[in-house]
Symmetry: C2
Subunit: 314 residues, 2 copies
């Protein structure tokens, strides 16, 4: 398959590109390098089936031309730092909504008929039902990030219906792994690097969320793609269980500097728009025959180690 | 109360302004007159508590200044012709998403803390469960109109959480009444005016939808506003029952020219993005104590008469 990956130099995108190349696909990573890092792709650049395009979905007038001949687009490009939304209310509107619109128009122009999209548990807001299934409603996102992703989902649905762009929408849990660029593990590692004696945690550390290892995230997306064939295929993508932020802080401290002190805030959420307790029901994919191999807390532990290794290597 | 009504010269907006004035409110209608008609407001222009502003949410740099001192905004401005989305994919993105974003930013800037928003049954797409309750999911809209409204809903939720803009979101059935500017009744009347001998109907006429009389629509919005006090209050707003398009065509022909022939198409939907069968569950508002006075088919019959009277008066 000829595959185009927006956000291809980002955390999930770069792992995905490597995985697809290893499967024998021809892969183009597309990224504006605002959050993505070219060094994540360094090992891939010499492979003949791989190419990298530095450009921006909000500016690229040649996008439709560029997409011609591709079999599938993974659309991972987005702002991935949820907390930024409250200070820059147009960020997710541009990076999720407008960017997705431009991509869909270009796919329509180029005749590319298949799209895999990275949505998020944040579209559920503070759901009353946990674990939260895909059938949950009403959807009341509390973050600009969640609002942007839900908007992008809805645009994808309209394009699927009007122009036959078959779509797979995955509402991700918190994805973790080596190439982290954001999120609790990444932040904790950065803070401990700056000051190894103390780790300050936003919020009281009692936030509980599902963490999904990036290898499971990629396997899950590909399983759904090969198995579900509706016009719009919509799945939660998560592992078993939830993990408390306190546990993540303790893992990071244990692996970096066991004598560091952990300081917690007093708020129940880390920032405005943070959902303190999120747990996705992944039964829909399970009923089709797929489950994440790594459970939530193990995914965190693995990722702390992998991110540290990556940090020390580069 | 001092009330600001976007889309105030439109179908629902103009009826709403009159209703609010009659209650003693101070009302400003705001409209770009793209679909709205100033003649709908003619009877109101001489009333001291009423003012009209012709401007556009996409261009108005003074909006925040303008909104200062208002107690409540009704946000009704939008493209209301669902069928236009398939030929102009950016129409609802601009008129629903960007316009709503600009309004929310201006409300935040002006410190206006209450918003009533006109959403739509179209956000449910082709729901499997009918009547469809607010808790239905997943939301897979098939029209650009539905996608735009769901995006606007999600933005409103994010602003409610971040900036305390308390919001009432109403997912409307097909609203009908005298000042129609779009929809089946309006289109049928226009076509019969152009050629009184034949009425051509888009689709096979077997489409079934809920119709809500505009007086009930207004009463329902105000009831919810005074009764529900959550951060985000989300309600379906519909009457009892559904009405077939064939029945609407027959009503129009009976009232305009009983000898006209009705010609149906062969498609099950009127246009790309049309939901052939839509039926909203209005139990959530009913549980709070409110029901529409006029059932769906009676609302249609009344509105054909009212729209004809309006057409003949002007």
């Amino acid at each position: 398959m000829k595959v185009f990956v927006t956000g291809g130099a980002g955390f999930i995108g770069s792992h995905l590109c490597e995985n697809l190349l290893n499967r024998g696909d021809e892969v183009t990573a597309y990224d504006n390098l605002s959050l993505g890092r070219k060094e994540f792709l360094k090992p891939l650049l010499s492979r003949p089936s791989f190419s990298f395009v530095e450009n921006d979905l909000l500016k690229d007038v040649d996008l439709a031309q560029r997409l011609k001949g591709y079999d599938l687009v993974f659309h991972l490009a987005a702002n991935s730092d949820i907390s930024l939304g409250s200070s820059r209310t147009d960020l997710d509107l541009k990076q999720s909504v407008m960017a997705t619109y431009n991509l869909l128009e270009a796919m329509r122009g180029a005749g590319v008929g298949r799209l895999i999209f990275s949505s998020t548990s944040a579209i559920y807001g503070e759901a009353e039902l946990k674990p939260t299934p895909e059938t949950y409603g009403p959807l009341v996102p509390i973050s600009f990030y969640g609002a942007g992703k839900l908007s992008a989902e809805s645009l994808i649905c309209a394009y699927a219906h009007h122009y036959g762009i078959r779509s797979w929408i995955y509402r991700f849990a918190n994805v973790v792994g080596a190439h982290l660029t954001h999120g609790a593990i990444h932040d904790f590692l950065q803070r401990l690097k700056a000051d190894p004696s103390v780790l300050k945690v936003l919020g009281d550390g009692r936030q509980r969320k599902s963490y999904l290892h990036v290898t499971d995230c990629i396997e899950g997306m590909l399983f759904g793609f090969h198995t579900a064939k509706d016009e719009v295929n919509l799945f939660n993508l998560a592992s078993r269980g939830v993990t408390e932020v306190r546990w993540i802080a303790e893992q990071v401290v244990a692996q970096v500097n066991a004598s560091a002190r952990i300081e917690y805030g007093s708020e129940d959420r880390g920032w405005s728009g943070d959902v303190p307790y999120s747990w996705l029901d992944s039964g829909k994919l399970a009923n089709l025959g797929w489950k994440a191999k790594v459970e939530s807390s193990v995914a965190v532990e693995m990722s702390v180690r992998e991110a540290l290794q990556w940090q020390n290597r580069s």
